[in-house]
């Protein structure tokens, strides 16, 4: 029997202002899988991610690691599901990097010596040097901030990791570095992105969302090469696939 990290059944969500953001979403993600959620801006990708740990709560049902997501179990769910936000300035709210990375574990009441170890490990897993610990987030470059955000999420040792546009606005070097870091992660990954080359590199399976609905769900290479499908939803076939650069 397959173990599912995430099982979403008939999830719908309407924002308080009346915008219909998600409509009857069904999605299963087996443990250890890496899936991409692609789609035009405003498709509902970020909204879907925010449902994974109950920050937003729509109608329908969500199971995380076979546990139904409910108000009473939010604490446990937030330990298991880490979310990487698009703007690191939203995610890094402490005066120093160390405090930001330690914030999650401290909330989980992890013992002090364990926190030290977790912070160090998270920083190194995110490809950062230890010397960054005492610096302030507003002194860092965007690439560094993005990686510190990732470290802050990794420090909670989540089984499932949702990322919102992890590579946006990064220069090529930082982007490559981040993709390497992401490829090395062991958690179940759900990546919402426009960066289709990243999807080709990291995710074997892709889900296509548009206007709050899922339009396609399947093997990445097949889907991204389907020019009619891509055009219909405001995307385009990645250049490397068009030119046949990427072979398995």
């Amino acid at each position: 029997m397959t173990e599912y990290a995430v099982r979403i059944i008939q999830l719908s969500y309407t924002y308080p202002d009346g915008t219909r953001a998600l409509e009857k979403i069904d999605l299963d993600v087996p443990c250890g899988e890496r899936i991409a959620i692609v789609g035009p801006s405003g498709a509902g990708k970020s909204t879907l991610l925010l449902h994974l740990n109950g920050v937003l709560q729509g109608t329908g049902s969500i199971k995380i690691l076979n546990q139904k997501l409910e108000q009473s179990g939010l604490r446990e769910v937030r330990r298991q599901v880490g979310l990487l936000f698009q703007d690191p300035n939203d995610q890094l709210f402490c005066p120093t990097v160390y405090e930001d990375v330690a914030f999650g574990p401290l909330n989980l009441t992890v013992p002090a010596d364990e926190i030290q170890r977790r912070v160090d490990k998270a920083l190194s897993d995110a490809g950062l040097n230890k010397s960054i610990r005492s610096r302030s987030s507003h002194h860092l470059s965007l690439g560094e901030r993005r990686r510190v955000s990732l470290a802050a999420v990794l420090a909670m040792e989540p089984a499932i990791l949702g990322m919102d546009e992890p590579t946006s606005n990064l220069d090529p070097r930082n982007r490559h570095h981040l993709i390497e870091v992401i490829s090395g992660l062991k958690a179940t990954l759900i990546i919402a992105t426009h960066d289709l080359e990243l999807v080709l590199d990291v995710c074997p399976r892709t889900v296509l969302m548009d206007q709050g609905k899922i339009w396609a769900d399947g093997e990445t290479r097949k889907m991204l090469a389907d020019s009619r499908l891509m055009d219909a939803h405001g995307l385009e076939v990645p250049l490397s696939l068009k030119l046949g650069f990427k072979s398995k």
Binding site: F85, F93, E99, H138
Partner: protein, 237 residues
Amino acid sequence: MRHNFIDRYAALDSPLHILEPRTKLLAFTALIVGVLSIPATNGFLFFIYAFAIAIMMGFSQVPLNYIVGRALLLLPFILLASLAAPWKGYLGFGVLFVRAILCLILLILLTNTTRFAELLRGMRKLGCPQILAMNLSFLYRYLFVLTEEAMRMKQARDCRRTASAPFKEELKLLSSMLGTLLIRSFERAERMHSAMLSRGYSGDFPVISPRKFSWHDLAFLSVVTLFIVSTFCFTNR
């Protein structure tokens, strides 16, 4: 973009820097109270205090020109405040001015020998309400984000206009820019809250403190106490 940080030299490693934040908060508050309670006619005590503060400045390794520069920046406000006490004549003006300058230098020393994060931790440990410390922490963190946003907005405005508009129009533009900033901050606060919830925030902001209370702190506190007590005895003789 470059900013002028209030705790620019806080990362140094001087005898003042290595003290526990609580020690410094207590000692500096006591010294400020001391400065404020010097009798106006006692010029000698002012001199003694100035001397003590100069010694601390020397120990702190914070560059003198930085301290002077910072103090100069706030000089207009001090002058204005001092001028507001005309009923006491020249003496009243002078005393108020010297007091303000001494307190200001103490504050500059405090913020430049203690990282802001540690200062907040010290405040928390001394019983400052969490909500206040948390808000100050966010203020420190997001001041720069907000400044940058405002600067970008100003640049965008300047790029799209050729001459300055009539005063009324300018005012209108300014108010709409401020409104936009407010709404953006509000939205950011919502996203931040989501980020905090996602990392297990449940209403309690945890504190971690790398510095421990040591014999340095004890020594410093004793010296400051002794100093203040002896100056008090001196005035009340």
